[in-house]
Symmetry: D2
Subunit: 362 residues, 4 copies
């Protein structure tokens, strides 16, 4: 009696993030555009369209040598929730129209699954999906997250919280020192300029081969008060892990000493407390799921971009073997365009947890 | 006008996990007991108290040489939701009473913060908390998760899904081969018996020094159908990351090639598709946040137990430096007692996502 | 240490409705426009912009003698979630731009609170809000609900569910018979044409006095399968009550025999079961919070429009007494423009509960 | 491939209520017992088991002439979340064991559906359910709500909020005056003692006939600050409507002038504002979904108890006509035992919304 159509349905499609401060994103890479609705933002915060320009530009493609050549202005339109330059406490809808969406190179995706991409899984789940440019799975979706992060930041700035992402590894080259003052001089926002030079060489080489590269991004949050996070399932580190892992290219996340902690003893990994607080920060600023007031430090493992200019073995929708040769505009690495996305996700978690526990005890 | 009392309040305390299948846990280490309410479980699944015995025994302390000597029977009482041996679709409340709760060794915690533990962060957040045995932050809370995992498993078994955790690294010793058939012969459920022997030596040494050890646990889910997970924020890997990271001792989580992916090129990290599906499994069974039908593979970095028998620098509640010398019953490592907890969290995520998307297409 | 700005914040602002099928609305009466994001809609349902025209027209002002003269085309733009004419299972963003928004008459609202409106309560809650045309509290917000209801209806139609609202009382005149075939001949969609004539006379009179009128709307859902609704808090009638009461003008809601049940005995109010199911329908199609398969019947009490053209005693923002004389474009009654809004809310609840419990047993 | 067993499953079974302060109830009428988990309660509120005695006694059966003779002590055990007499901010689990559960009279329910009860709808939804004493649909479930309301009250008392329910109609007899000081002298907590006498006569008569009676309960909340409630879907009145309608016997709910508003004009129904605030209270203390600071007033229509001692036409599980003759212990009316339940639901909504918007301005 019930139409089979519905039975295929995915439910609770999980496009909303957060509890007190919620973000719902929508839109496809090659549709009309993308957007976000932020609900739960306090009233009386100053917000205007210019506030989005810098962050959107950091994520936007088409600036550097190793980026896709797609040109998107990524202008954010504030559709609602702001009156006379101030937030009103009502939902803030942000809209970003697609402009330079060239669907041509994606026609092949009507037939073939791209290795390393969502195509195969989506086909199994939905049958019908927008294959153009990856549709909802496209990195373009992250522009809506960056825009939402700008709003979250408006909540964090008065608290003195800053969130900064930087590259600590790229194509196998590790940063061996970290001087955040120099990172802007690196095309990858790597705070070790010597390492950055080596990264550049690897990037050039892989680009010439039509291949791509992964890396590791560290995210540092300073000024975060003690007390954020909930003790059991909604631990601050658990929520950050979900936030960071929900970014498409991320395959691993660690807090503080992270995987290295697995090789240490308790006496090495515990942070002693002295008169000025924690003497070390192996914990990465979070204990028992609650922020301690120390710097919050996490790292994300970013996989190499799956779209490469080399032929790949795959299947077509009927299950027949085929060879995929992609043309189109691809980045060599998700780094550094992923930085503002990761920062935005961290900001959203911190602002959400701040609003979930509004009164910070000193 | 508003009482300051409330302003200290944490809200949405995050003791509920899942969307379609929800688990709410409660209870403290040294209170009356702990428990869980599972809501959203389908009706007509067979469930009785005996079903919990094996899993609870795997997590229970006091069995091995390297465990705490606390003795808990950990009998699970089915308080509601089951009638004539079958679930009814109504909430399943599970209760586990504390028996051997010796609060004596914890009196010192009224005064001093334990490095590596939640004490300091909790004090900043709540002021008033149950310090005995770590209260809500205690590993004892995980018994409720294991019990809930037994219920989740009842949903997964008819689908042919199995979830298995095993040790791949302990105290710096790595497993170099994986033969799951042998893991039961290892006290750490390490599937490389030669490595297990070396792990045992390290464990003995650290135990004698009153120190503790971390390690890495791999969790393998087989038989999971394609289509689980939602494309954006509720990606299956993001939800698994949160689930695993919400277990107290975990400091890092990775899926498939994980942090190694950061060092690979796209042509190395992409899994080609052949006539029989994926030729490799660098993705760990998840692409674009959706399961592909391949094995799901993730790893958790487990930090060394922070309770050690060595003197540690710390502060008292008034902020004065002090030396903490803990007596009490501590494990040398959270491994392998953490295995059933990690399995339970993975089962809860898979069952939840299965119920969120009930009709599996082929 | 914490900025006072945030402390004024409302959180979890409640602009999302539903669990499996969620609707998030945004926008203000006199801002850029309004909109809705529908998440959780199954894929492969046909949906195009023309599908919205009829329903939007039913709610749109400026058609009848007793309506506001504001002219809005209320064209719904499908911004995302539809590809090649079919839903994809991703979020469906709908956008409706404001066109004929004349803010002039609302300038007085910068100073004075309108009796019967949200102004005073909003001022107490937010201090800063968009007073133009009622901002978020405007009836205009309901256009987004009607649009969302069109999507919900796409889920219900294949199930054979229909939802119809009609007027059973207006300005004190009651319908004494109900013939749904005739309701389209009544300007108030009253299914008793004789009563409708009398209603028209009362409307004319009150309009000439600059006053307004309330009424009662009945909503009938047919074809709804047994089994929708959850036993305790999310009873189908409880969810319907919230849905209907969340429409601004509604002050009361009743199911089946409703308030009349308070005057009956059990032997009168119980519906006996016979070979063909329920012999009567005092229950209104819901027992124990779960649909029985009988027709679902509820009634909403709609208060008179608070905007009237008579002088009213009020206060200004400084607390000084003042007299409010409103100019502007007001309906005489929220009936019948509220009909499609109430239908939409009922459709959203039924579709949500259908997706929460996908498999209908026969 | 997927087991049919799961496909029957209800999901998101809706046993959790609230957002910032959540209550999850569990348990069946004739199982081990019932209970509630309250999450999100602020720390440092005094709470002990004696705090529950008075409220539980008000709901408990077996006190009056018109009550069921089931004897339940209804002792509430605080299982978690309280330490040294104060809440800790962690989940508060409350357990109430069933004692005098006589399942004998319910054996007939294995075969026959009771008119006016959930049996038929549950059978259609779950197939397998605990029929004894109504299982989860039993009024006994409301004991868990009353217990949770005691916790909510601990949040409201420091704010000066009081919530009081009283009978304004019973068996067709209406209270014509309201003097809350006298209500304790009425067996139905009717604040008009003359009316109460008449109600008593009707009750006696119907009891002798084996029939039952409905009525109307008014709930008054005083001291509630302006600013509670969210503008769109989570309007305070919408949430109250859901809360009240989620109590099994309630078939209608109205706020302020309620259904009467449908018969008034705008000039009659609007509350003018004077120097001391609202001059009247037709709005029932809520405008635009947000509390105004005036008294909150709502009414619930309570249907007659469906369990009666008269023969009723019904069906058996195979669909054959049958006559049901119930023995057992039934109340003549849900009034007044429903009072503490309705108060509890209102308290839960107010406390939840207070915590959702913690800082009350002024």
């Amino acid at each position: 009696m019930v139409s089979g159509t519905h039975d295929k349905g995915g439910i609770m499609a999980g496009n909303t993030f957060g509890k007190a401060l919620t973000v719902t994103t929508f839109g496809e890479s090659h549709g009309t555009g993308i957007g976000a609705v932020i609900d739960g933002c306090p009233p009386e915060l100053p917000l205007c369209e210019e506030d989005f320009v810098t962050e959107m530009a950091r994520r936007r493609p088409g600036r550097g040598t190793y980026d896709s050549t797609r040109r998107e202005e990524d202008r954010v339109e504030i559709f609602s929730g702001v009156f006379e330059g101030l937030t009103t406490g009502t939902p803030i809808a942000l809209i970003i129209r697609n402009r330079d969406a060239d669907s041509k190179p994606y026609e092949i995706l009507q037939r073939l699954f791209r290795p390393g991409h969502a195509d195969y899984a989506y086909f199994k789940k939905y049958r019908h999906f927008d294959y153009r440019g990856g549709g909802r799975a496209s990195a373009r979706e992250t522009a809506a997250r960056v825009a939402a992060g700008v709003v979250a930041n408006k909540i964090l700035v008065p608290l003195g919280v800053t969130v900064t992402a930087y590259t600590v590894e790229l194509g196998g080259v590790k940063a061996s020192s970290i001087d955040l003052n120099t990172m802007d001089q690196s095309p990858f926002f790597c705070p070790d300029l010597a390492a950055s030079k080596k990264m550049e060489a690897v990037m050039k080489e892989k680009k010439s081969l039509g291949d791509s590269l992964g890396g590791i991004v560290e995210i540092l949050a300073t000024g975060c008060p003690a007390g954020l996070g909930e003790p059991v399932f909604d631990k601050l580190d658990a929520e950050l892990a979900k936030a960071v892992m929900s970014v498409g290219a991320v395959k691993g996340v660690e807090i503080g000493s992270g995987f290295e902690a697995a090789r240490l003893t308790g006496s090495q990994n515990n942070d002693p407390l002295g008169r000025n607080g924690f003497v070390s920060n192996m914990a990465g600023g979070i204990l028992g799921g609650v922020s301690t007031g120390a710097e919050i430090l996490l790292r994300a493992a970013v996989k190499p971009i799956p779209s490469i200019h080399q032929p790949q073995d795959t299947l077509d929708r009927e299950g027949n073997p085929a060879t995929l040769e992609l043309s189109g505009r691809f980045d060599v690495s998700a780094i550094p365009r992923i930085h503002p996305v990761l920062e935005a996700m961290v900001k959203l978690v911190l602002a959400d947890h701040y609003l979930r526990w509004k009164t910070i005890i000193d």
